[in-house]
Symmetry: C2
Subunit: 238 residues, 2 copies
DNA sequence: GAAATCAAAACAGTATACATTATAGACTTA
DNA sequence: TAAGTCTATAATGTATACTGTTTTGATTTC
């Protein structure tokens, strides 16, 4: 129960923003253990600043669903099967459309980035490097998402994707799943190259459905913890 | 530039939550003038509490898009035509599906509430009472939205609907528009009564498209202010 | 009279100190 | 030994004080 995470400040704007980005990155990279708790005063001490900016940053992350605030430190939310299914429903509604948008606006540089991410994912899938695979996956999504001109749409998607992403780390180490995902990415990529918005829409739809199915199949059927987890989550709403 | 708004605490949980709900209600009711600024220390003084809970509440509202934080107090965001169009795009993607869900889960009491809200809206439309019409509209939406079992979906919808709602007040005083909206509500209501999820989906789609068109047509073509407004908005992102 | 510079005020950001609350763990008792 | 209660502690919630920055307004100068 020590503090294996080392925080450092990222050089942008005020302290709250710095801490916010740093902690969010830590979460997104999956460097935060499920049961581990984040305490404002500890992080503040480590950074050599006061509690308030840290507290602000953590509370923002709570509002955005990245963390839950209990009376005993901030921790990762424990998602139930229902939670995950709910998140995937929203993603199913938003992402195909957003990707179709991106098909029109993505420029040559974007396509190049997409190709690189895809290649990386394929390499990681063959060697079985879950970490790299995970990163390539994120790069791929962030790339096309950056081309979406509707900010609110892309930000909403990014947030919900991040929420399941936390639990996703386990799933992504499963090699057959990696193969399926890579196939989906390639299909989407090819549609992007052809600038075929309809194909992008359809393939993204298929991709997300696939992801959800795989996800549900592989995730441990720990339904017995659902009530407990839900109560913890609920407490965090405040 | 005095302080015409009177804040009082709402009796739930900690001070931050109380202030948050109070201020959000004020915004949702359209009681906040567009140029008016909210200053934490002022509100705190009025409530007899310190700055911090007020500041926390205001910052949460900023994170949720209800306010923007400038260097000179918090104010309502100035939405450009693009912003509004972006918000409506997300709503178009989410609300029909959510309403279809509600068609299955809405109980008899819910239908009754819906009927009451509809009747109120019709009455307000004939007398031209914009305020009452506005309220009835919100009641109608909140009712079916409450029956949606996917919390994240309904909360996302509520938030985006609230964002345009701020500007909407003006539009809703236009009587021909009121007639169109009431007709849409009735169509949706009847589909709800029949528990016809498909019809609810289609009519909600139509309803939102209609709302957006009316909205764009009636809103002043003040495109010359767009850049300025966008820059104000951007500053608030921090 | 207009423009530029400077000063003062207003407000957000940050720090520190104090109050409150819920949980864990020890201690008591049946 | 197990169950219940109580206390100590860890963490958040709130208050106040201070700092830095930006804006506004006034004064001076051209």
């Amino acid at each position: 129960m020590t503090e294996p995470i080392e925080f450092k400040r990222i050089g942008e704007g005020n302290l709250r923003a710095q801490v916010y980005h740093q902690v969010r990155l830590t979460i997104q990279r999956g460097e935060l253990a499920p049961g581990q708790k984040l305490v404002d005063v500890d992080i503040a001490a480590q950074l050599g600043i006061s509690r308030m900016p840290v507290r602000d940053a953590l509370m923002q992350l709570v509002h955005e669903g990245y963390l839950v605030g209990t009376t005993r430190g901030f921790t990762l939310p424990t998602l139930t099967a229902t939670d995950i299914s709910n998140i995937f429903e929203v993603r199913r509604l938003l992402e195909p459309r957003a990707a179709a948008h991106a098909a029109r606006t993505l420029d040559a540089a974007g396509l190049k980035t997409l190709a690189a991410a895809l290649q990386e994912a394929e390499a990681a899938a063959t060697t079985g490097d879950a970490d790299l695979f995970f990163q390539a996956n994120s790069a791929f999504r962030n790339c096309w998402l950056g081309a979406v001109e509707n900010d609110r749409l892309s930000q909403t998607i990014a947030r919900f994707a991040d929420h399941v992403l936390v639990v996703r780390l386990k799933t992504l180490s499963h090699q057959p799943t990696q193969a399926v995902i890579v196939a989906g990415m390639r299909a989407i990529y090819e549609a992007f190259v052809r600038r075929d918005a309809v194909a992008v829409y359809d393939r993204m739809t298929h991709f997300i459905q696939n992801a959800e199915e795989r996800f549900m199949k592989l995730s441990p059927p720990s339904q017995q913890f659902d009530d407990e987890a839900a109560s913890i989550r609920r407490r965090g709403k405040s």
